[in-house]
């Protein structure tokens, strides 16, 4: 611990902090532009000047390490004069276009010039003009406003791992640009918009849409992947205007992926607003009561074994629980599943389907083995953590199969199951590496779970680590499953799964056309040849599911209702209602209540609170429930393929979004022109 004095206040701080951090601990606020907690220190904006005893000149507090016995003053006249001087220089070339600047109202420069700005400019020369740069479909540039803090460059190089931004030229003529103005090819690129302290980098899709003070802010959870990033949804009336990250050090730190941020315009397109019924191959609008009647007739004329249901990738737990109750108690069918792909699951223990080491745990690991997963596209924020670990600990990373550019170096291993099995049989080079590792991480992806020997290898892996338990600290959990969808882990907790051998029996039967009625609850990623099935689609967007459906019942999207999600680590989080659903759509549990009332004259749930209580009860009781299945006990020689992921088109909201389409086009374009060199 270091003792120092800030503004006549004695404080003690840990070693390794900067003067700026120490001052913050002492409660003295320091203005800054270039300094950012999560990025390396640049020290080039000079706004954080403070006075230090025995130093003739003021010091840049962000770049000065705190030392024992320092006497710092942050509120003297000298400091204020110095900061005013810096501000005058920053404003010398900054245009006076706040009224037409999108950053207005949340601009660091604007805010700080209220304290340190001078009302008149002494700068009589011509102001600098910098041409606009192209940085892809998400980032709008207005580089004349740039104050050269280099936060964006540091972010792209350090966090995103795509060193594409740079500062060219020098002095007054310095310009921030991508290499020859190519689109930034990172899934995290839009975070530079939040980082930019001025209006130089602003959001292209959000350009001139609204002012920050007009927006209603709702803190909620993202559903684009299973990470469960914490977000803030800004709405103007009904419309979701933008999505911003919220700080959660355990999950997304303070970044979000471009999909999380920009898929929100998909909430405006392709929406289902009223029930539809397909007659003579044509969808026709019907009233809710008519829709229920049609459904009632169908269900009454079908035996329960012929009814199946699949829940979707964005479905919240309330919906899934009500669906489960509906299938158990009203339809009396067991054929309900949440998987749209035939992946293996062993629900006998929660550790079998969670990311056990937690996202924070990645930072402590010294060895990561990826098995059948491409974390960059399956869980972007998690990949950023792997990169962080790679940079900080020089973590060694191996992958079975080529996962493409993951923003860090990794070694590709022969992608056969026998090769993988060899490690746990204590053979081969990788075993030697694994043996010597103090904190290894094995990450199994869903592509691995599709294999026939998934159970065999997974159990082998478990017993291997059981044997080597003593190598690791007590709470170290090396085995991790990386789920792709926001609803996955929640649905496993709720046991929305029907299986005989671990794989999805429902999917098999659907593909064999064994059902008469199929319910799709927001499920759009399923593909099967339709025969004579009556497909009921309950969801928010007109996409694959609605395309197949004979009856469509509209329900709200993820920003339009309260609901719980469990992220891949098993953390339960609540998403809040930020805007209103379209047309006459009803929340899924209400629809189910109505159907059951029509079918059996009794509602399932009194209200949403009742639903929530009984769901929580179920989760508590279910923790010890038995899970019976007959897995394949043998090792099969097969190849571990990493599924291609159409990153910007992975769910209904993204597919309905114009911005995502532009991103996808830009990505395809870069691949075509081969800017890799």
């Amino acid at each position: 611990m270091i003792k120092l004095r800030v503004n006549d206040l004695d404080i003690e701080v840990e070693e390794g902090l900067t003067v700026l951090q120490a001052c913050e601990k002492a409660g003295a606020e320091i203005p800054r532009f270039c300094y950012h907690e999560k990025l390396s220190i640049a020290g080039n904006c000079r706004m954080c000047l403070v006075e230090m005893e025995k130093s003739a000149k003021p010091i840049a507090s962000c770049a000065m390490p705190a030392a024992d016995g320092m006497v710092i003053k942050t509120n003297t006249e000298k400091v204020e004069k110095a900061r005013k001087g810096v501000m005058e220089f920053l404003l010398a070339n900054h245009p006076l276009d706040c009224p037409v600047c999108d950053q207005g109202g949340e601009c660091d420069l604007q805010d700080q010039s209220m304290f340190y700005g001078i009302d008149k400019s002494r700068f009589k020369e011509n102001k600098r003009y910098v041409p606009e740069k192209y940085m892809g479909p998400l980032i709008k540039t207005q580089m004349t406003r740039c104050i050269h803090c280099t936060r964006c460059i540091r972010f792209a190089t350090e966090v995103a791992g795509v060193p594409e931004l740079g500062a060219i030229g020098r002095g007054e003529d310095m310009q921030i640009t991508t290499y020859l103005e190519k689109s930034m090819k990172s899934e995290l690129s839009a975070n530079v918009i939040d980082l930019c302290p001025v209006g130089a980098l602003t959001s292209k899709p959000y350009v001139f849409e609204a002012r920050p003070w007009e927006l209603k802010k709702t803190e909620t959870i993202d559903v684009m992947d299973a990470v469960g990033s914490n977000i803030r949804v800004d709405t103007y009336g009904w419309e979701v205007k933008r999505v911003l990250p919220r700080i959660n050090e355990d999950i997304n730190e303070e970044w979000i992926s471009n999909k999380t941020r920009y898929a929100c315009d998909g909430l405006k397109n392709q929406r289902l607003d009223t029930p539809y019924f397909k007659e003579n191959n044509k969808l026709k609008e019907v009233s809710w009561s008519r829709a229920y009647e049609i459904l009632k007739d169908k269900i009454k004329n079908t035996v329960s074994e012929k009814i199946a249901g699949i829940t979707g990738d964005l479905t919240n737990m309330e919906t899934m629980y009500s669906v489960k109750e509906f299938f158990d108690k009203i339809l009396k069918s067991k054929y309900l599943d949440s998987r749209s792909e035939d992946i293996f699951l062993n629900l006998s223990d929660r550790e079998n389907y969670l990311f056990n080491s937690s996202i924070n745990g990645i930072e402590e690991s010294d060895l990561i083995i990826l098995i059948g997963t491409n974390p960059r596209f399956e869980a972007t924020m998690l990949n950023a953590r792997i990169r962080k670990s790679y940079l900080n600990n020089k973590t060694k990373i191996y992958s079975f199969g080529n996962a493409g550019d993951l923003t860090y170096d990794y070694e590709i291993i022969d992608n056969t199951t026998t090769e993988l099995n060899n490690i746990f049989e204590k053979k081969g080079d990788l075993y030697q590496v694994l043996k010597n590792s103090k904190s290894p991480l094995i990450i199994f992806g869903e592509s691995f779970m599709k294999l026939k020997s998934a159970y065999y290898i997974f159990e082998k892996c478990k017993s291997f680590f059981k044997e080597h338990e003593n190598n690791y600290t007590n709470d170290w959990k090396p085995i991790n499953i990386l789920s792709k969808n926001a609803s996955s882990v929640g649905s496993y907790d709720l046991r929305i799964i029907y299986t005989e051998d671990g794989y999805s029996t429902v999917l098999k039967k659907i593909n064999n056309n064994e059902f008469d009625i199929i319910f799709l609850f927001g499920q759009d990623n399923i593909n099967f040849k339709k025969n004579n099935e009556f497909v009921v689609y309950i969801g928010s967007h007109g996409d694959n599911g609605a395309d197949m459906a004979d009856l469509i019942l509209p329900s709200p999207a993820y920003t339009e209702q309260d609901g719980h999600f469990v992220n891949l680590e098993g953390k339960i989080q609540k998403a809040y209602k930020a805007s209103y659903p379209t047309g006459s759509s009803k929340e899924e549990w209400e629809i189910i209540n109505n159907i059951s009332e029509i079918l059996v004259n009794k509602t399932l749930f009194k209200d949403k609170d009742y639903l929530l209580d009984s769901m929580k009860n179920y989760l508590k009781l279910n923790a010890s429930a038995k899970y019976n299945f007959h897995p394949n006990l043998n090792l099969v020689k097969e190849n571990i393929f990493i599924d291609d992921i159409d990153y910007y088109y992975s769910n209904v909201v993204a597919r309905a979004s114009k911005t995502m389409r532009e991103c996808r086009d830009a990505m395809i374009e870069t691949k075509k022109t081969g800017t890799e060199g």
């Binding site: 594409e164 931004l165 740079g166 060219i168 030229g169 020098r170 991508t178 290499y179 020859l180 060199g677």
Partner: protein
């Protein structure tokens, strides 16, 4: 000084010549093994020497791959330093110093001469494509101000007429004599005074 313009006409290919490849390896060895990116500056200079005194974009890409670093980092360095030329320059590359001492002694007269004789704008080739000129910062020969550099030689103690004569020569592909144009040897004092001893009030 304004931002350097990158040439619009770019070659498709660049590779180090055999001799330069050996030289490049030698240069890299001057730096720690894991920090070989540090060699980017001497190697850019090497490229410039090989490629008629300017650095094309393909060469930057080539170098980035050669040193295993992001393209943008090479680009940053190349645009930062004024002595890397990013567009073709003439066989005779005239650099006129216009920093304070030279400016006081009439450097802008030489610029006028450049504009009259070579081309009306900086970084533009002369009519016979042999010559181009540029304003630069201090070349460290202030005592012989005003001065200019043509390729590897310094031409000192100039005025407009002398500069015009020099340009006349280089435009005709003749090499003018380098050094002082007022008959000085290096930077010796004029009027033969070698010490201050013989001055009364020194």
């Amino acid at each position: 000084m304004s931002l350097k313009k990158v040439s619009k006409e770019q070659p498709d290919k660049f590779e180090f010549s055999k001799e330069n490849l050996i030289l490049a390896e030698k240069l890299i060895q001057k730096y720690p093994k894991e920090k070989k990116q540090s060699a980017v500056m001497p190697l850019l200079y090497l490229i410039q020497k090989q490629n008629d005194n300017w650095i094309p974009l393909v060469a930057m890409k080539y170098l980035a791959k050669y040193l295993n670093m992001p393209y943008i980092k090479v680009y940053e360095v190349a645009t930062f330093y004024s002595m890397y030329n990013l567009a073709p320059v003439g066989n005779y590359f005239v650099q006129v110093c216009t920093t304070t001492p030279c400016m006081i002694r009439g450097a802008y007269k030489i610029i006028e001469a450049c504009k009259e004789k070579i081309s009306s704008k900086e970084n533009e080739l002369s009519k016979n494509k042999k010559c181009s000129w540029i304003e630069v910062e201090c070349l460290g020969a202030c005592i012989n101000a005003p001065m200019m550099q043509i390729n590897n030689d310094y031409y000192e103690d100039l005025d407009k007429d002398k500069a015009l004569k020099i340009f006349e020569k280089i435009l005709n592909d003749e090499k003018p004599e380098p050094g002082s144009y007022r008959g000085r040897k290096n930077s010796e004092p004029e009027n033969n005074r070698t010490t201050l001893m013989d001055l009364n009030n020194a």
